[in-house]
Subunit: 133 residues, 4 copies
């Protein structure tokens, strides 16, 4: 079970004067998508930050915009955990309106501690991330 | 010298599909305007937070939208410190395009400590805020 | 039936370095709340704009921040249509976390046409807005 | 003269609870950087949209985050026009704080008309873009 879907709707605030979604908002949605991915896995990102003082900043982000989304559009983001390395992981995103992919992208994340230093992914988290359930 | 002006330009990201600035962005600009007001007075808000652990959250915000601003418009915000009370203060804002006021508003702020408790405005800060220079 | 509730969750992007929701985001949420209010009434704001070229820009917005919301918090916005005048209307919002009101506010809206001129609220829309069902 | 620099300062609204700039804001800054690049070349993007009904939507965006920026940081974005193809162009961005590159990225853009159809870059625009002055 290494994919997860969420459904969202375009907010008015997310449009621009071209009449479509402004391009940076996809990164905001990716964040929501991966948070819900983790939550479904049993990992509460908020508690990871608060209780374990572990942070997952984005080290790379990429978006390929194929077709625009418009105000009030309902859409789905399918999130896939692509790679889990020693101290990094990569998510892939597929933004779909109906049957059609409108945008794809990925984000890479480091695991860091409170001082901003990279750390190996803790074993318990790694196990959950790489389990197929 | 209890007013201060800054000049800004409308970002594409700040527009919406109505072709004008989305209404919440004025609050973002008000924050920039009061920060620069304080900086000109000699108060660095960033250092107040970091070094003194004093925070100035907004307790009330109001905007009156008279005319829209559009993409790439250059505009001025005139900020006035209206009231300095025991543990609160109020800023007024006048957003102008050329000679014309397009939006007005105000924000009220509490002074709080790291635990979120209201505190009296420290004397040295109060003195700077209420000085006329 | 002149109130409506929606449930939302705080996005990471909506927080600031004070560790709470940045104050302008409440206006973004108010927009979602009133859109869903209208949708439940049978009014699709997107179609009002697209098909009838009628726009409802905000002329005033007010927020009273009582307690902060934090990342990942789930909250409810209760929206009430307060006044329907000749060419304006006012919404009131109550942002609740659990049983507690954390923020209140209102927005006033004009009805305008494609040229930005105020127009009387069309009768069919007025009827729907003022009906109790 | 195919590079251009702008200076910006981090807004409070652009921070998140990690105490650093939220990652999607870099794309907003890239938009400002390329607009000013074009303006210096003599191309007013606002007029290109309004008068010629030509739009330059982003088709790809990439960011590599090396070090964080924090609230109130002053930084520079150096923009370079990398490629001008038949109907596309690519900008590269180098976000610097002092002498240090903190983030790099690129955006690719299509030229489209009012109907959203790709068009060849108009000759006069192409000439300006590819001139070395």
């Amino acid at each position: 079970m290494n994919t997860h879907s969420i459904n969202l709707r375009v907010r008015y605030a997310e449009t621009d004067q071209m009449g479509v979604v402004y391009y940076s908002n996809y990164l905001v949605w990716f964040e929501i998508a991966r948070t819900e991915f983790l939550r479904e896995k049993g990992l509460d990102y908020n508690r990871i930050e608060k209780e374990r003082k572990i942070y997952l900043p984005v080290t790379e982000a990429y978006c390929r915009y194929r077709a625009p989304l418009k105000y009030d559009d309902q859409f789905t983001i399918v999130t896939k955990l692509k790679d889990v390395e020693n101290s990094r992981m990569t998510f892939e995103y597929d933004v779909r309106k109906g049957d059609r992919t409108v945008t794809t992208g990925y984000t890479r994340h480091a695991f860091i501690n409170e001082k901003g230093k990279p750390i190996p992914i803790p074993e318990d988290i790694k196990e959950i991330l790489t389990s197929d359930e």
